[in-house]
């Protein structure tokens, strides 16, 4: 009986992880195909499609664009999120709970709605479609996330540390820069990497707000319109690999706590 439940548990775990990871495994596997169609039988392994991706300037420049948009928009989202978290945690504000709710609200709104809203807004403000516009969109979706992560880690035990720094003669900006930011570094980096992951993968907003220069997910979508081939698998695998690296950084910075 016990053996049976054990086997059942294993089967269940296999089914769950298979359900989650099988599509990715198939994607990666057929990116190594040596023939021209990503369908069985497997004919690889071969790196020819990766070579094709890296020699395609549209894809590589989209990759660079994506990295730029992800890192710059995440830096902006983290900075703004950190400052607002610090403000909410350290100062008594009227309607604090309501304002905190409002700042995290975009987390619950679909990217499509946010993207459409921004499109309409940028149109009427005659801001052209560009990577900058997409970057601003990514700040909008990632700021609430950065705020929530950093605010949750900003405890009362740091108040006295900041007071001590002030007591020893530090002006406010030095308190923030030399004390609060380093003490909060794990949460700040975690927010940064998670925000980069989301920006890196984001399609809808980038699709709506960019035109000629665009990000990698939009470029992949363009590629897909001409049908499946192992090149789309290869570029998809690259996107996935970068996401994995970012998530691992996120987990490491958030989970590895220094002893108090």
């Amino acid at each position: 009986m016990r053996a049976f439940t054990r086997i059942a548990a294993w089967c269940y775990a296999l089914a769950v992880y298979g359900f989650i990871f099988l599509p990715v495994v198939v994607l990666v596997l057929f990116s190594l195909q040596s023939t021209s169609f990503p369908i069985p039988p497997f004919t690889g392994p071969s790196l020819r499609w990766y070579q094709a991706v890296l020699s395609d300037t549209r894809l590589t420049s989209a990759l660079v664009n994506s990295l730029l948009v992800a890192s710059i928009s995440s830096a902006a989202a983290v900075t703004l999120g950190f400052l607002s978290a610090w403000g909410f945690a350290r100062f008594h504000l009227p309607g604090s709970a309501l304002l905190r709710g409002l700042i995290t609200l975009p987390l619950t709104v679909s990217y499509l709605i946010i993207g459409m809203g921004l499109l309409v807004l940028f149109n009427s403000a005659s801001v052209p479609k560009s990577l900058l516009a997409a970057g601003i969109g990514h700040v909008v979706i990632n700021l609430p996330l950065c705020f929530a992560i950093i605010y949750s880690q900003m405890g009362d035990h740091q108040i006295n540390i900041e007071r001590a720094a002030r007591d020893l003669g530090a002006p406010e900006w030095k308190v923030l820069l030399l004390i609060t930011v380093p003490v909060m570094a794990p949460a700040i980096f975690a927010a940064f990497f998670l925000s980069m992951t989301f920006s890196w993968d984001e399609f809808v907003i980038s699709f709506l707000l960019t035109r000629f220069d665009t990000t990698l997910p939009v470029e992949i979508w363009n590629l897909l319109r001409s049908g499946l081939n192992p090149k789309t698998n290869a570029v998809g695998s690259l996107v996935f690999a970068v996401s994995i690296v970012l998530v691992v950084f996120f987990e490491l910075t958030l989970l590895r706590r220094k002893p108090a």
């Binding site: 007591d167 530090a170 003490v183």
Partner: protein, 354 residues
């Protein structure tokens, strides 16, 4: 007379509707060790925060070295604080922690390092320069916090229950060291505590606070021997309190009728005044009435052996509401349930006006 180092004038403070300090005035002399002693909620920590600049008083003024510092932020006052939780910077080495204040004052690296080493040597932690705070024990962190606050040479060092987080043995040891360090550097220390033993051991000037007011202040010997109020008689050490009324007053002697009998003692109060008489446990004599003032018979309720003495609680036979607190020699043969005579000397009775 020179101006005092710190002059707190008529300071009151309210948190919303709640009044935590009520018209407090206090002066602090250079080089003194002042203890603010009181139960929680007495306003002692608020007073310290007002001195440090973390709280601006609702009313009143604070002068430090003759300058009005009432609304000067902490960064720009000549005070530093040792926080109860030490508040060390966890991401910096001990050396960087101690050197932080000097760095903010623009002192160059080499001078800074030399001064930091000197300050660490002063607190007996010369070897900890490169360590991180989390590698140190509680007592060592306490010393780092002390060195960090002292190295910038403040006019006044403020200590917020600095020994509260340490165990009893370490607390007594750190207490002796604090006193020695204070004598060596000569900086005025203001130290908040609710531990009366700590207060008596450390203070040059002891300030007893209760309910937002200063009840009594002076050298600890005086505050203990002749407390000014009923509160300080019971908070700074224990006392037996006898309530009574003056029945006769002449030639500098008054007779007071109490529930334990008539007591006559030196004093100049009007007939009919209600008073409280306080007697320290070590001044109550149990058994064969050798004291000049007889306080009737009492039934012993509880005897607690405390090593060098026995703490005895006894209920008066004349007034069941009256409880005597006495200190008997360790060898005394007293047992719960015994009835015994209680007496004392008139000169040991502390007269407290109600």
């Amino acid at each position: 007379m020179s101006t005092p180092l710190v002059d707190i004038r008529d300071v009151s403070h309210r948190f919303g509707q709640h009044s935590v300090l009520k018209n407090v005035s206090l002066t602090i002399e250079p080089g003194s060790y002042t203890i603010l002693l009181g139960p929680s909620g007495s306003g002692k920590t608020t007073l310290l925060s007002i001195l440090g600049g973390f709280v601006s008083p609702s009313e009143g003024k604070v002068f430090i070295r003759g300058q009005d510092c009432t609304f000067v932020p902490p960064a720009r006052r000549p005070t530093t604080t040792v926080f109860q939780d030490y508040a060390l910077f966890p991401h910096m080495s001990v050396g960087a922690n101690v050197g932080f204040g000097l760095r903010m004052r623009g002192v160059d690296g080499a001078t800074r390092a030399a001064k930091v080493r000197e300050a660490l040597a002063l607190v007996g932690l010369a070897a900890a320069f490169d360590k991180k705070p989390h590698q140190l024990s509680g007592g060592q962190r306490q010393r780092v916090a002390l060195a960090r606050a002292l190295v910038v040479e403040p006019a006044v060092l403020l200590l917020d229950e600095p020994l509260g987080a340490l165990d009893l043995k370490l607390r007594r040891q750190m207490q002796d060291e604090l006193k020695a360090i204070q004598k060596r550097v000569g900086t005025a220390f203001v130290h908040v505590t609710h531990d009366q033993e700590e207060a008596m051991a450390l203070a040059d000037h002891c300030v007893v606070m209760n309910d937002g007011r200063i009840e009594d202040e002076g050298p600890p010997e005086r505050v203990y021997a002749r407390p000014a109020t009923r509160f300080s008689a019971t908070f700074m050490g224990e006392s037996t309190i006898l309530a009574g009324t003056v029945t006769e007053a002449k030639n500098g002697t008054i007779a007071v009728a109490t529930s334990a009998g008539a007591v006559s003692l030196p004093g100049a109060l009007q007939q009919g005044t209600t008073v409280a008489l306080a007697i320290r446990p070590e001044h109550l004599v149990l058994g064969a009435a050798s004291g000049a003032v007889a306080l009737g018979q009492a039934t012993i309720g509880d005897v607690v052996f405390q090593g060098s003495f026995k703490r005895v609680l006894a209920t008066s036979a004349l007034d069941p509401a009256l409880q005597f607190i006495a200190k008997a020699p360790a060898s005394a043969k007293v047992r719960a349930g015994d009835t015994i005579a209680v007496s004392c000397d008139a000169s040991d009775i502390i007269l407290l006006a109600n």
